[in-house]
Structures are given as structure tokens and as C-alpha cells.
Symmetry: C2
Subunit: 228 residues, 2 copies
């Protein structure tokens, strides 16, 4: 049924759950964004007092958020020295993309079997919306939809754990990927690959989808290469 303990998710089925926000959760979200946006640059040390003041929060919830970020691999904690925004080497990048590729392939294959027609149609809708943003050259919105599609395909597998793992890895390279897609040629290539992905998914052709994802992720590595 539902994952975890399930009491909350069952309740949220019918009624919108009243979500009590904690500060560390809020801070966590904000800091993730700051890292992805580059406000917190890779290699930069995180001064707890400073960031805390900036967010209007004491050090306690901030530190708790940092621990989570560390567990997600977005920051690195050096005892008695503090946390620094993690800097990814080209090897890290290759490793991440390799795993990400396999996760998406698994997600895609499973989605071909399990996903409902509605779910696939929704992904197609995302794709169309993305293409529209491509037409008008709105890179930020395009990018967001792009990420959403990748997530949606994995989500369509119905495997929560897979989604979770995919999400953390995707977060790690989000920034580099965004920068990497600069340049019209690269952009065009990525768009073409996406089109093929959606088509394979609609045909529920797991074999083809797997191959396209392989191609797409390997291309991504090339596109991102010179950003490092």
C-alpha cells in the first residue's frame, strides 16, 4: 500500500493534510535552492551565523538542515571547520550520470509496463509544454520542465524508492546541467532526444526507451563536460 508508516498518507488521500512546517525543513528547501542557483557557490564555506541571520533563523535549525544536505551529498562537513558546498569533479560527474542513467532506464522500463495511459499522457503534456518554452527560448522554464519530465518518467514506474534515489542524484547535478545546456546546438540536441523518449514511452517500447535514455544521458555528459 502506502510507504512508511502510512498514517499520514492515508489521511491525505481524501483531505488536504495540514502540513506543519518546521524551520529546518524550510531552511533545507531554501538552502537547496541557494546551492542550485549558485548563491552558495561550490567550494564556498557556509558560515552558520551569517546564513542564519540572512534567513532570520537561529543556528539550531540551520545546522539540522545542513546535516540533511550533507546526507544528500550537496555539502560536505569538516569537523570543527564547518560545511562547504560540495564541488564535483569530472569523475564525480561521470559516476553520478552513470548511476542516474541506470535509474532512469529502470524507471522507464517499469513505466512502460505499469504506467497508466493517463500518466503517460500527462508526461506528453509536460513535453509539449517544454517544447513551447523551447520555441520561445525561455531557458529557465524549459529547464524546469525538462527536469520535471525526467522525474515524471521515473515516477511513472510507481517505485517510490527509485524516485527518491533519482531525486537526490538529480539534485546534485542540477546546477551543472543547467549551465551545460547553454548554446543552441547543445540545446537542440537535448530537445531531439527528449522527443524520442516520449515517443518510445507512448509506444511502451521499453527496449527503445532504454536505448534513448542511454543516448540522452551519455550526451548529457558531453554537454556538461566543459563546464567542469
Amino acid at each position: 500500500m502506502t510507504s512508511g508508516v502510512g498514517t499520514l498518507s492515508e489521511a491525505s488521500e481524501a483531505y488536504p493534510r495540514i502540513q506543519r512546517r518546521t524551520l529546518h525543513d524550510e531552511v533545507l528547501e531554501r538552502m537547496r535552492d541557494m546551492i542550485i542557483e549558485g548563491t552558495l557557490a561550490p567550494g564556498q564555506r557556509i558560515n552558520e551565523g551569517l546564513i542564519g541571520a540572512q534567513l532570520g533563523v537561529s543556528r539550531t535549525p540551520l545546522r539540522e538542515a545542513i546535516k540533511t544536505l550533507a546526507s544528500e551529498g550537496l555539502v560536505e562537513i569538516q569537523p570543527a571547520k564547518g560545511a562547504i558546498v560540495r564541488k564535483f569533479s569530472s569523475t564525480d560527474m561521470r559516476n553520478i550520470l552513470e548511476v542516474l542513467k541506470n535509474l532512469e532506464q529502470l524507471g522507464g522500463r517499469t513505466a512502460c509496463e505499469n504506467a497508466s495511459d493517463e500518466t503517460i499522457a500527462a508526461i506528453r503534456a509536460l513535453h509539449d509544454a517544454m517544447m513551447e518554452q523551447y520555441r520561445v527560448r525561455n531557458r529557465l522554464e524549459y529547464f524546469k520542465l525538462n527536469q520535471a519530465i525526467h522525474s515524471a518518467i521515473v515516477a511513472a514506474s510507481g517505485n517510490d524508492v527509485l524516485m527518491e534515489m533519482h531525486g537526490t542524484l538529480q539534485a546534485r547535478i542540477k546546477r551543472l546541467r543547467f549551465i551545460g545546456n547553454e548554446g543552441p546546438d547543445k540545446w537542440a540536441g537535448a530537445v531531439a532526444e527528449h522527443e524520442a523518449m516520449i515517443e518510445a514511452l507512448e509506444k511502451r517500447d521499453a527496449e527503445a526507451l532504454t536505448e534513448v535514455i542511454r543516448l540522452h544521458m551519455d550526451s548529457t555528459r558531453l554537454r556538461v563536460w566543459d563546464v567542469l
Copy 2:
């Protein structure tokens, strides 16, 4: 009150890097063990004051450790209510094993290509040691070596990210897996599959290894099934 900085074996391994241990790190490790051992049972609420006193630590580092455990998926945090040890449903279990299978397959394939002969020999040594523990029916030591072998195969791929993801997922089902292997028939089955894995790895037969891992993980699901 705090234990030593590092073990002797670590120090003699390579150059002794002075690693400053923080309390939240220490607590994190301890709590992981407590969850796996069952001292903290699934579904049980974690009382910060209680556990803190038990470990001789204030609530601050404890809470930080809990945040990490939550990020690892071992506990679940309910705002204003506290953290509870996560209880996995059969669906969760299936999802975890599905992803784990794919990660290990990727690790195995890559290891067949990249791993040095020495690395593979070391894994064979682990396997032989495990078989010895099987012979004397030392289930705990057997289990530890079993886990170590799976980790070692993934590690042999040289992909750190893969190792990390594999590690977190492995931790989630560690306890269930341990309980699941009870009974001589199940145990014998697992041992046979392991033997085949090592042989495939030594031949660097990626195809065969992938298939054995598939078999092994699917069998694991069956072995663990009735524990839920």
C-alpha cells in the same frame, strides 16, 4: 565518556589521518546499529530525552543525527510529534530490492570490466571466509561477511556514487534480511547463489553475473517475504 578516536587497524592501514569525531557522528553510528539490531524497533517512537540520557549526550547532537537518519530513510520525522523508526511495508521492500538489484547489477558489470585481479581475489577471500562461517553455522559472522561481499562487489566498480546509493538502501533492509535468512534451506540457497556470483566475477562474465544477481535478489525477496 567518548570512545577513542580511531581503531588501531585503521591507523595501521595507511597514513594516520587525524579524524576528529563529532558527537552527532558517533550518535549516528550508534543509532544505526540500534535500529539494525532491533533495539529500536520499527514503529517505535524515539524519545530524545531518553535516548540522549542513555547515550550520555544532550539533545542537540542527537537531533542532528536523527535528521541524517531521516534523510537515509531509516526513521520518519513527524513535526511536533517526533521521530519514529521506519516500518517498511511489503511494497517498500519490493521497491528497495528492485532498485538494489539494478544497482548491484550495474556494479557487477562495471566490476567485471574495471576491477583489478587483486580486488577480485580479495572478494573471493571474503567469500571463502563466509563459507567457513557457514560451515560452523555462525550466523552473525556469516551475515556480516555476506553484506561485506555485496558491498565489495559494488565497490569494485570504482563508482563512489554507486557505492553510496547501494549503502543507504542496503542499510534499510539489513535487519529484515538478517531475520529473513533464518532456516537452513533458505540459508543454503543463498550460499549457492553467492558461490555462483563469485565464479562469474572471477571469469569477468558480466552477462552471467548480472543474471546471478537477478536471481539472488529475487530469491532474497522470497526469503524475506514472510518476515513482513
